[in-house]
Amino acid sequence: MAIAISLRDIVKVYPNGVVANKKVNLDIEEKTIHAIVGENGAGKSTLMKIIFGVEMPQEGEIYVKGKKVTFKTPMEAIKSGIGMVHQHLMLAEDLTVVENLTLGIEPRKFKIFLDKKEMNNLAKKYIEKYKIEVPLEKKIKELPIGLKQRVEILKALLRNADILILDEPTAVLTPQETEVLFKSLKELKEQGKTIIFISHKLKEVKEIADKVTIMRDGKVIATDDASNLSEHDIARLMVGREVSFERIEESRHIGNVALKVENLSYFNREKIQVLKNINFEVREGEIVGIAGVEGNGQTELVEILTGLREASSGAVYVLGQNIVNKSVREIREMGVSHIPEDRMKNGVADKAKVKENLISDRYYKNNFSKMGILNYEYIDGASNELVKRFNILAPSIEAPVNALSGGNIQKVVVARELSSNPKVIIASQPVRGIDVGSEELVHNFIKDARDSGCAVLLVSADLDEILKLSTRILVIYNGEIVKSFDKVEGLTGVDLGPYMLGLKRGE
């Protein structure tokens, strides 16, 4: 079978001295879906950026359809039929969908003017051809994440890509959206496209990929037909040890109510009701999972519970105290900790030192500082201890966080949030975009917290995660709790699906 892309001895060193790829060799066959998996920081994205001309390798050769190429800019990669959907979406939020789609290849009137009608037609043409629906006139920022992703893919196709790179496209997608995505991907393969697909979700890899390449520490460990590899094999190869996918054991003793939400409602600034009187409680020693398709009010719920947003009506009690319109700090002081869904936006200051990120919620407390003066001796001690306990892979506590890879950044967040001996933990997408190895670690930390008597509210779009950790599960749909499962043992996604999609609702 013909080779679409082949890489020979690719070496990439970043200006900061990180060697992200170490003599990588890789062949991608035409008209296949080729998955690439690997731990955080293994060098997957870097490799893709090299293929797409974003980064230039120091050494090695790239062949596209047999002929040698050296891309200095994405433009050149695009010209030779490569398209890429980046790990972090690359859309101008304030421009319309059609503007984003046609950016750089705009049809023109009299050479110099935009031809808006043609822009629409062009987009429509491709929408029909690939059956990927998107609202052309809307601004990107008005779209749910799943649609944004579709725009990204369409963007690549619009540039006649026949080799399509997707870097963790499903990390931000709901099972339903993932389904849709996979349908289009298979469709595309039928139409003769070659697809490179990066994911940390091994189940998906098994489901969609024809071939799988496993990377570790900047090198390719193995490449094989997906059919020859079980999830466990892949996990083992990635991490270099066994990883379990079993559900964690049930929590032993469940205590009194720690978090109580009463008739909570919220209207956003467009006066749309995003939360419709929500009622639930979380007890000490239990993990309550909130399952739901993203964009059904989870984000707002979490932000209200942690004081980043004001409820329109209703009450929230932490250990019996109402927290409505208390400040973030006051709420944290009551023992609430928060693992945010977007770690880069909220979880860390990426240019700040690791230790500075580890103390952001306690720097003012005793020992960390006295009378407004920071006590670095103590801070360094505490930070080093956290780095050890949560085995964060970092050059040192003095290193800026952005020198860490995705998974380790998340560990920094988790370490801070779980080490403030919280009573209530609000964890939203705690393992998004991190590899199975780190994922397992984080899950164990959460479990330990639970066993030490914390009440945990777990918000996730990843059903496996919900099913793996939760003591009880609530399903949220369109701002309402439509169903609660008090026994999780034996449940599967199939049981939750209909509720998440609003097809069924509980008593």
């Binding site: 433009m75 690359m90 101008a92 950016l103 110099i112 935009l114 600034r269």
Partner: protein, 307 residues
């Protein structure tokens, strides 16, 4: 009616509003276009100064308006290019680079003025030209409007035109789309193969052109000579005007007009004997108020904590 009030409600007042606003409209458009592309250009002061100077010198020695126009614009663009080269290619802090260029412009113009005109203050010893004023003929009979527009310098008209050109460039040309995209999300732009640095450079060049026109108006229309530091802070006022207008064509235009009005008002009020400082401070206080109110409005729409 008291002559002061009379004069304020006269067409001659509105006439002077336009004249005063023009050297702000141009640089304001310059600031706006570069802001859209994501770079804060506070070098308009220097750009205007250099163009104003070049225009006068070239016109004095060639007695040709076209040449001076071209020379003036090229000079302004040159400064913009230097700014671009240092901030974009050499990654110098753009604010600092601009401060340096303003300093440079103020020094080099006076230095050369001395070489050409043997005077360190004004070029009044040179026979430099001015751009023609537009006679509306019959149209000048139109009540009020006629009075406001007749006999305005051609560059005043070009200022209006520039607002429209700005609108067309930004919203109806591929370049404009790219400029906006680059300003909103450079990574997104480069991911579809757009050369971000080049687009930002184009935006700076455009702001150089606008700034240059402002400078030329100052020395070859507004008055008929070049004077040391004659921009007198208009390049900075322009930043205010464009940010009041959110870098949008109409907004920026109205922002500049606001200054035109307040300045003209200050000029008309000058003769009544309240301390001159009090009168001269009005425009700046108004800006702070307008800016605050403007931002306050847009904050309401923002969620708490949103930027």
């Amino acid at each position: 009616m008291n002559p002061l009030l009379k004069s304020i409600f006269s067409t001659s007042f509105l006439f002077s509003v336009l004249r005063v606003a023009t050297p702000i409209i141009f640089p304001a458009l310059g600031v706006a276009i570069s802001s859209l592309s994501g770079s804060t250009n506070i070098a308009l002061e220097g750009i205007m100064l250099v163009s104003a100077f070049t225009g006068v010198i070239v016109s004095a020695f060639t007695q040709n308006l076209w040449l001076s126009l071209i020379a003036g614009i090229s000079a302004g663009v040159l400064i913009a290019l230097i700014l671009g080269y240092f901030s974009l290619k050499l990654k110098a802090d753009i604010i600092l680079a601009a401060i340096a260029l303003n300093l440079f412009a103020s020094g080099i113009t006076v230095f050369l003025l001395y070489i050409f005109a043997h005077d360190k203050g004004v070029s009044s010893s040179l026979k430099s030209l001015v751009f023609p004023t537009i006679k509306l003929g019959l149209l000048s009979k139109i009540p009020i409007l006629g009075g406001i527009l007749d006999n305005q310098n051609i560059l005043v008209y070009i200022a209006f035109l520039s607002v429209i050109i700005y609108y067309v460039i930004v919203f109806h040309t591929p370049l404009g789309l790219k400029i906006r995209a680059v300003g909103l999300n450079p990574d997104a732009a480069s991911s579809v193969g757009i050369n971000v640095v080049r687009i930002k450079l184009y935006a700076l060049i455009l702001s150089g052109v606008f700034g240059a026109l402002g400078g030329l108006y100052l020395s070859m229309g507004y008055v008929s000579w070049f004077g040391r530091d004659m921009t007198a802070g208009r390049g900075f006022i322009a930043i205010a005007a464009s940010s009041i207008g959110g870098n949008m064509p109409l907004g920026t235009f109205l922002g500049s007009l606001l200054f035109g009005i307040v300045y003209a008002l200050a000029n008309f009020l000058a003769p009544i004997n309240i301390p001159s400082e009090i009168i001269q401070v009005i425009p700046y206080i108004v800006t702070v108020l307008v800016l605050t109110i403007y931002s306050a409005r847009s904050v309401k729409e923002k969620e708490v904590g949103e930027e």
